[in-house]
């Protein structure tokens, strides 16, 4: 272990003295900040456009709903310039003034569930969608007019939820409580999830540098000199630990720059939701993910004479961490779906899938979590063993890439 730590220290020192690494260390968060500013810049310009082209909405109504519409306009920040009007519907055939709309709301239109609307040709494309915000107060007025009691109205107006899987069978009041709870603080799970996600991706991608590092010894023909002082497994472990530490440094720099910036620029309650127990569990998943990919990288890295000359097999292995992104869409859209469940059990996709699911799901499927963590831990053990065997022979094979057949032979040795 002492020798492994010496190797780890060396890898750390060597990289920290490397200009490319140091520049990369600061450039990644800088790029994030730059994109944030670019985004703000564009959204600001959009806002300006919006301000310049706010809809003027003339309302002709006789049921006393104008104040409610004003309130909704403010609450939902619709940006309408609301005006009352007495112009009859018969006068209006088309609206010449751009960004203008007329709404005719009366008892008859309410009865027929059809609100006459006239919009100028040039209008905010979001306007038809924004109009839907008026549906609920209008239905409420209609319900009150029909003589229903307040309790009946409440029951009628309660939104119907489509609930899948685990919440099935729960009483509606419980569902309501859950969703209310989630709506109140969605950051409670999102922040630890995003934090662990950053750690996972950062150390996994730093771990990809192990590829280069493992073949570096061969390229520079120093493997035999190093192995005259320590065992191949000590060298391998040292590299894994060294690059793990480098990854953590990268995460630390990343967070040290981005965290104050995010707190300053947004209202997201990061700190309150970061130091919670679930962060520890999420970070643990991230670390396991690193160990799994690092052991694969270090083993396969030792079979290459140089990263640039990686063969098909090595190239495919390099792509393994990206496999997780292929299923990220289905997992996010349906965290309890079949893709998400199967992804939880496949070693290469398990860490990120598990992380996303635990971030999005209201209640955790504990059995699936336990099986998934067991799959990851078992994979780490198996890959470490295989990597050890491949590394031992591969590291001394100078000047050529090992073929899959040769690698298979080393594994069986």
């Amino acid at each position: 272990m002492q020798n492994s730590m010496k190797v780890a220290k060396w890898e750390l020192k060597r990289n920290l003295k490397n200009k490319t690494f140091v520049i990369g260390l600061f450039i990644t968060p800088a790029i994030f900040i730059l994109f944030f500013f670019l985004g703000t810049l564009f959204s600001d310009s959009d806002d300006n456009t919006d301000t310049a082209e706010n809809m003027t909405v003339y309302v002709n109504e006789d049921i006393g709903i104008f104040e409610d519409i004003e309130a909704i306009n403010q609450e939902q920040d619709l940006g309408w310039n609301l005006q009352t009007t007495d112009r009859p519907q018969s006068e209006i055939t088309e609206v010449d003034e751009p960004y203008t709309a007329y709404l005719f709301i009366n008892e008859q239109s309410l009865e027929e569930n059809r609100i006459a609307t006239y919009t100028s040709e040039e209008a905010d494309p979001l306007f038809p969608g924004q109009l839907q915000a008026l549906t609920v107060p209008l239905q409420l007025i209609k319900a009150e007019a029909s003589g229903l009691s307040q309790q009946e109205i409440n029951q009628l107006m309660e939104p119907i939820s489509f609930v899948e899987g685990t919440n099935q069978g729960e009483s509606p009041s419980n569902i309501e409580e859950n969703s209310l709870f989630d709506l109140e603080n969605p950051w409670e799970t999102i922040i630890p999830g995003v934090f662990a996600g950053i750690i996972m991706l950062s150390i996994t991608f730093t771990g990809m540098a192990i590829f280069q590092s493992a073949s570096q010894e061969k390229k520079d023909k120093i493997a035999e000199i190093i192995l005259s002082s320590l065992t191949p497994s000590e060298l391998m472990q040292g590299k894994i630990i060294g690059y793990f530490m480098l990854g953590l440094i990268q995460v630390a720099v990343f967070i040290a720059i981005l965290l104050p910036f995010t707190i300053w620029q947004t209202d997201i309650p990061i700190l309150e939701n970061l130091f919670v127990p679930r962060t520890i569990f999420f970070v643990l998943i991230a670390l396991l993910s690193y160990l799994m990919f690092a052991s694969i990288f270090v083993g396969v890295g030792a079979t290459m004479s140089d990263v640039a000359s990686a063969g098909n097999m090595q190239g495919l292995v390099m792509m393994l961490p990206f496999l997780q992104f292929v299923i990220i869409g289905p997992v996010i859209s349906n965290p309890d779906g079949i893709v998400a469940t199967v992804g939880t059990y496949i070693p290469f996709t398990a860490p990120l899938t598990l992380l996303i699911r635990l971030t999005l799901l209201d209640s955790w499927p504990w059995i699936e979590i336990i099986i998934s963590v067991a799959v990851i831990v078992l994979s780490i053990y198996v890959f470490m063993k295989l990597a050890g065997k491949i590394f031992k022979v591969g590291i001394l094979l100078y000047g050529k890439n090992a073929t899959p057949k040769e690698i298979w032979k080393w594994i069986r040795m």
């Binding site: 490397n18 035999e224 001394l396």
Partner: protein, 308 residues
């Protein structure tokens, strides 16, 4: 003799090929022992087994009364045949790393690095990046890396390859000085003239087996007969009259006469015919180089004639 390293009946196979067929030898403290043989004879495999980089199928290696994984690697220095250094690091950094891996105190290592850099004409280069060095300079840094931690056993696999004569001389002197100070040195080289000048004993192998083992003098006595090089215009018929000659090569007035085993040179000289034209005459033993060529080409002329 104080034995430092013992190799006993070492065997190693790759696939169906036996690379080492049970070789045994010892290396003593303060001596330079050469391990010789043509390419593919099994030298590097033997060395890698001693270093624990490969593991023998059978046989034992003892160093400091330890065997296998118990062998203290920090007391061994090693310069492999296929060697290099990390390119993007400073000389001082890489040498300190190598010293650290050998558990050598870093402050002492730093002093020795500066001392050796000066000795090898690399003074002031400690902060130079390895990639800026010439091949010869890089070889010197690798050599410093192998001796920096004051090893008791130093294994050098082809230390002179790629070196100019001046650098060869510097290496030769340093190796001799280390041996004089008690370091046991196991040296593999194809430069037979240098081996002949430096080594106390030789272990020559071919096809994974021992062919010759002993002190340089003993080996020459045992395996090498005398040969006479004669310059002069002599017809072949006259040369054939010379007694106790096993084999003869004649070319443009230069004749090489390989003498029979047991010939006593000064008595043999008296038997030369009076009419022989002698412009120049040398009598010496067959060189290590010739023994090596003989073994490498599988002629076995030396052993046949030498009767070993």
């Amino acid at each position: 003799m104080n034995t430092l390293l013992t190799v006993e009946n070492l065997k190693k196979s790759f696939k169906d090929k036996e690379a080492l067929k049970g070789i045994s030898f010892e290396v003593y403290r303060g001596e330079i022992m050469a391990i010789l043989g043509p390419n593919g004879a099994g030298k590097s495999t033997t060395i890698r087994n001693i270093m624990g980089i490969m593991y023998p199928d059978s046989g034992e290696i003892h160093f400091h009364q330890q065997t296998g994984e118990g062998i203290p690697k920090s007391k061994i220095g090693y310069l492999p045949e296929e060697r290099g250094l990390y390119k993007d690091v400073k000389i001082m950094d890489i040498l300190l790393y190598l010293a650290d891996l050998k558990d050598y105190p870093l402050n002492k290592a730093k002093e020795r690095i500066l001392m050796y850099l000066k000795k090898f004409d690399l003074e002031g280069k400690e902060n130079t990046s390895v990639e800026e060095l010439s091949k010869g300079m890089s070889q010197k840094v690798q050599f410093i890396g192998s001796i920096l931690h004051e090893p008791e056993l130093l294994i050098l696999d082809e230390p002179f390859s790629g070196l100019d004569p001046v650098s060869q001389e510097i290496f030769k002197e340093e190796i001799a000085s280390l041996a004089a100070n008690g370091t046991a040195i196991l040296l593999s080289s194809h430069q037979m003239n240098l081996v002949e000048q430096m080594c106390d004993r030789v272990f020559m192998m071919q096809h994974g087996e021992k062919v010759i083992y002993g002190t340089l003098d003993d080996v020459k006595k045992q395996y090498a007969n005398f040969k006479c090089i004669l310059h002069g215009e002599n017809p072949p018929a006259l040369l054939e009259k010379i007694p106790e000659v096993d084999r003869m090569e004649h070319h443009r007035g230069r004749s090489v006469l390989h003498l029979s085993k047991g010939v006593i040179p000064h008595q043999w000289l008296k038997q030369l015919p009076n009419e022989l034209d002698v412009q120049e005459l040398h009598i010496n033993r067959i060189s290590l180089h010739e023994i090596f060529i003989d073994i490498a080409t599988d002629k076995h002329l030396v052993s046949q004639e030498g009767g070993s």
